[in-house]
Symmetry: C2
Subunit: 416 residues, 2 copies
């Protein structure tokens, strides 16, 4: 039985925009024996995680907890709980994950309005605000860091404009949380979704979300308690609003599970919660500011190496994501062949891209635990060697020197 052998996996250097290498301290907590979901020892861990998530999202929101599913489960939980059929939703799209928001919003019968800009750029906030004035949406939903194109979107002006017009602002911060500033309260974000398998260096499988009272009010108006466990008081409270379609993603039920009421919904994913708690704890222990600076430092070394090799970056540099570097595949080089050789010979994984960028760029992530000196140096060394092996015309021997220059010139080198 080929399927019955013990699990045996290779050790990779993962330099994609996720999933990335898991912090060894996170891996370690994942072998902790579990406790029951209503054990006080576990509900304490739930509360601690909520408290730490608030710090991570830089918010005072009451609601900050994970959805038990991958990042898109978090996105769907928020959209499915907020969108009622016929709601106008404006989605500015600047890469693949903008389309995902569209896809999900449409499925929940939103009246979706999109604007698109060229992949590799972001919008002038005024363009979004103008469209907002025209469409008068209930919700503006957009991606903060678009890994498909490696761009990060400024959100402050859009958040302000949304709040001034009483529009809900929902942000997919899956790729930025823990690696770049995500200031939920300061930027007037009403709901944000984070990812575990990127800058938090926790395995995929859980999606932390946060939302404020503006969102909580909408959810409360759609509240429904399961018949198997509803009390008479619950039944009396049922409003006329259309209930949320999904049971699993019904945030009104999840609130009853994550608050003092502790009403049984799902069985919390114990070990993933241990992992998330540890991942966020490590982020907060490092300090948000120090962590973001560390990410930028390694990005600088990577970029220096890439450019010294003679390769060109893709996209508008003014809105480059600090944790994803998109590199143009040189003419005449088969990008997939390079990726496969990097994996087969060096055990290094980098990413391709989607749609219009497929075959045109590689995407190199510098996220979380993967974002460290030896990984940056190794991916540069590997990429140079594999490109030479593919007959590409590049500068040999310069990439590592340029990256080492960045590292040796860093002032606070020991801290990073």
């Amino acid at each position: 039985m080929s399927g019955r052998k013990e699990l045996c996996t290779p050790l990779r250097t993962i330099m994609t925009p996720g999933p990335v290498e898991v912090d060894p301290r996170v891996l370690r907590v994942m072998s902790t024996p579990v406790v029951g979901q209503f054990d006080p020892a576990f509900t304490d861990i739930m509360n601690e995680t909520m408290e730490m998530l608030r710090e991570l999202f830089q918010t005072k929101n009451r609601w900050a907890y994970p959805i038990d599913g991958t990042s898109r489960a978090g996105i769907e939980a928020v959209l499915a709980s907020v969108i009622e059929p016929g709601d106008d939703v404006l989605i500015p799209i600047y890469g693949r994950f903008g389309f995902l928001l569209t896809e999900i919003a449409e499925r929940y019968e939103a009246n979706v309005h999109t604007i698109e800009c060229e992949w590799g750029t972001v919008f002038d906030p005024d363009e979004i605000i103008r469209e907002m004035k025209k469409v008068k949406p209930k919700i503006v939903a957009m991606v903060h860091g678009e890994t498909s194109t490696g761009r990060i979107h400024p959100l402050k002006a859009i958040g302000e404009a949304c709040r001034a017009r009483d529009v809900l602002f929902i942000v997919d911060a899956v790729a930025t949380i823990g690696g770049c500033e995500v200031k939920v309260d300061e930027w007037n974000i009403d709901a944000a979704i984070g990812g575990t398998q990127k800058c938090l260096s926790v395995p995929s499988g859980m999606a932390p979300i946060t939302y404020n009272e503006r969102v909580a009010d909408i959810i409360a108006a759609r509240k429904k308690v399961e018949r198997g466990i509803a009390t008479q008081a619950d039944k009396a409270k049922l409003s006329g609003n259309r209930p949320i379609t999904s049971n699993y993603f019904d945030l009104s039920q999840l609130e009853d599970y994550w608050s003092e009421r502790r009403l049984n919904h799902h069985t919390e994913a114990t070990t993933m919660l241990y992992a998330l708690r540890e991942g966020v704890r490590l982020v907060l222990d490092e300090g948000l500011k120090a962590r973001f600076e560390r990410h930028q430092h390694h990005e600088a070394a990577l970029i220096a190496g890439i450019k010294a090799m003679g390769l060109k970056l893709f996209g508008d540099e003014s809105c480059k994501m600090p944790v994803v570097t998109c590199v143009q595949i040189p003419d005449g080089v088969d990008g997939e062949s390079v990726r496969h050789m990097l994996l087969a010979q060096f055990g290094i994984e980098i990413a391709s891209s989607f749609g219009p960028l497929a075959g045109k760029i590689w995407r190199i992530g510098t996220m979380g635990y993967s974002c460290r000196r030896e990984n940056v140096l190794f991916v540069l060394a590997g990429l140079e060697a594999v490109l030479l092996r593919h007959g590409a015309v590049i500068e040999a021997g310069k990439a590592l020197q340029a990256a080492l220059d960045v590292y040796e010139n860093a002032k606070s080198q020991t801290a990073i």
Copy 2:
């Protein structure tokens, strides 16, 4: 910052109907470093897991893979992908989790028909078949093992009747898979959902499902590829059927991810998949028959002890779940006080129940790794001591003797 301390959890003896103790070998694989989701090393693991799940579900179905979410995510994924608005769905209810099926089916706009029987009993299959003839549903959905009442439902006759009438038979086998026979093909089950955190002894957070071509055909007719990654050929294929509402639970998209096409959907929950693979591997290595017998053996010891103490079992014994034992709380005893003392003094967790059974019964699980000699003996010892402490009139000193009798009289003692 109280939330910033290192994770520190007590070690519990978990004798609930889930989540139960995780097999130490499963915990160990959870500290394995991750690989990327399209790394051949990972797609091999995906394929191996599918192969092992087929054996676990005793099926030749092509489709057998996990949903990245807790058990009810698996249930919702199946129901949301199969149910179209207005579909007639018959749900025989004999406990809380039957109501969950109702709840989910209603949310997806099924025309739900229910029949109910007293909690603690199950239906005469003929009653369900009579109702099926009357309602002529598209789907019969029911729970195999109802942990809320500790009953297991015979499914063979119902599966045959469904197949003969071209009705789809969907079964929630969350609490039975890996602990009791679940014969998907032999019982004509069209779709089944398993749970990880019960008899598989894997943490909660993933839900293995399987379904046959009858279900796959319905899903295929509702297929939709995401705009961000759709090819022209995909767009041309779009049928007129109503697409599945949820993106996350859209099994047509999950098929593209779990098959050779490897179309990006979510990022597979790497570590949970490692855990599931290991959990199922351990079940198959033990052997299904041997494993089910082991569960029955410890159940026998537990029941002997409970009865020797002078306590009464709840419910119709002819349909008792072998992995859950429901015990009547003696008159005058505060069931919750007993549970709290068991946890606080002995570190033992047993469960209460829901709805009409709240305060009336305790539920003791003997599932997976929790189902072993020392745990059964400890829960009996603890329960006896705590009941004496609560002034209950029970027989002292007899429970452990009765359980030891069962263990010492077992023929193949060394194997169990």
